[in-house]
Symmetry: C2
Subunit: 319 residues, 2 copies
């Protein structure tokens, strides 16, 4: 992949006519925000442009997606945004694997699959890069585009909370507000709203909470029955791993989720010298030091006892 500058991207985006903008599977706020912002900008520049995601885009993002009607086009130039590797394409987007002309991304692990690309791992969100791109191009950011980019920046940073936030992140947020981004509405939608089914699921999950190692290990569980009874949807599951992780004093936070065929899918988040990856490797899983996963194929109580015991061991070894 040939590395190019934002200026060069600007030139390329003026040269063609029919742009297709690809998103990764299970699209998040940054992927959707970037795709819709770029598509909207290209249309404002008089181009034809269309977004494409192989998966359905969650209703959660409708405030951004409903403002841009679908259009028919013969793609002449394929762009990906926030796409680390082509392995993250799905469904109808898969046919463009190997054919991506331009990649704009912020993942350090970007696999450089496109003809040309711009990757800035220092950007907290891919939307930060697009904001800079539009400024370099001298194109006006409308309130609609500002909303899409603000959604990307705020969701990829947990509302300006995560360690990826830089001074540039806040300055971009300020400028997007000045372009008309509805900061309050977007933050309220994504960080201050829970569905009734999510509340019902959390209530059931909190009933399963258990502590070990004097509170350094916390366990929580979600079963198929709980999902059924609460009516919880896939998006209600977002962030459930944070429930135990946020508890004061917890160094190993376990979230166990019942899947099909007797599988319990386990997520471990850790801190203070406890390696989640090392814990999960014991069960054939893996991941990063701070966040890892594995599966245990045993009855609930046994699976729970196994993962808690391994976490207690890891916490004790870290003291």
């Amino acid at each position: 992949m040939k590395k190019i500058t934002l200026e060069e991207i600007g030139e390329i985006l003026r040269q063609h006519d029919d742009y297709l903008v690809l998103m990764h599977k299970s699209p998040d706020g940054d992927a959707v925000g970037c795709a819709y912002a770029l598509c909207g900008m290209l249309r404002n520049m008089g181009k034809k442009a269309q977004t494409l995601c192989g998966d359905e885009i969650p209703e959660l993002f409708s405030a951004v997606t409903e403002k841009l009607e679908d259009t028919e086009l013969e793609p002449e130039f394929i762009v990906s945004v926030d796409l680390a590797t082509e392995k993250l394409l799905s469904g109808r987007a898969l046919e463009y694997a190997g054919k991506i002309d331009l990649c704009i991304d912020h993942h350090a692990i970007n696999s450089e699959y496109a003809a040309v690309g711009y990757v800035d791992p220092g950007a907290a969100a891919c939307a930060e890069i697009l904001k800079k791109l539009f400024d370099v191009m001298g194109e006006k950011i409308t309130p609609q585009i500002a909303d899409a980019l603000f959604m990307g920046v705020s969701t990829d940073t947990g509302c300006f909370k995560y360690s990826n936030v830089t001074p540039a992140t806040h300055r971009i947020a300020a400028e997007l507000m000045e372009c008309g981004a509805d900061s309050y509405g977007i933050c309220r939608r994504f960080f201050d709203t829970k569905s009734r089914t999510k509340i019902a699921l959390e209530k059931m999950m909190l009933d399963t909470i258990e502590y070990a190692a004097g509170g350094a290990v916390a366990f929580i569980c979600v079963t198929k029955k709980m999902i059924e009874e609460s009516g919880a949807t896939q998006s209600d599951m977002d962030g459930i791993a944070a429930i135990t992780k946020q508890i004061e004093g917890v160094k190993a936070a376990i979230t166990m989720r019942e899947k099909e065929d007797g599988e319990f899918r386990i997520s471990v988040r850790s801190s203070d010298g406890v390696s989640a990856a090392a814990i999960c490797r014991v069960f054939g899983g893996g991941g990063h030091d701070a966040a890892a996963g594995c599966s245990i194929y045993k009855p609930l109580e046994e699976a729970k006892a196994d993962i808690i015991a391994e976490c207690v061991k890891a916490v004790e070894a870290s003291l």
Copy 2:
């Protein structure tokens, strides 16, 4: 109260030697952050300075407060920060009512109690004003002072989420990070950490949740027994009114808390044309359209039925 400029405040802060900086009772992150930032800055300028709060400062703010040791002084000049009226003084701070020389605040309802003052209701946090003041004075903002101010800005805006956030808020956050503010640590502490007792209390509270009017009214309750059994502290109560308010589709969110002597203290948060103040006035209470309170002196089930019925009526009238 004579209105003065930030430049004039800067001159005053160079003229005296022994400064006392007052905080309001039940101090929040902005009050504590501002008092410790101003006190730290005055000491860096070679002055003697001391903070004073009539109430105990919660442990939650210790990362900021523990960096500034107490000192003895005969106050020569009294400053208040983030203090809307002298009625909000408590304990040992009460003796300075009527004697405050300078007030720096961001509350539109500031009662202008000081000899001179600067009030900017457009500032999301009083800490925004202090940041501008230190810049006007040309004084260096150390990492310690940046942390205190960042705590004020982030806590008064719900981590950049509330409607009071302006582009200036984000720019100030960016600049404080460049001065060394630990954005991630502060946000993690205030917005991503829950005590084990708070988790236990929330679990019990979720067991009391009830909906009415097709989900437009949500009710939650905390009893003395629940507080006792969970071991919850006063700071664990912070934000409990948000539990029902954040539920999708809820227009009247009720939080009912058992107090002494048979009192149930009720908080109503409302939206979509439902007036919390009108609902609470029925029970002799009051407040704003979007947030109000009242007390009902009846057994739990009756108090609950009364407030839910009134909310249902208000929701139906709003349709």
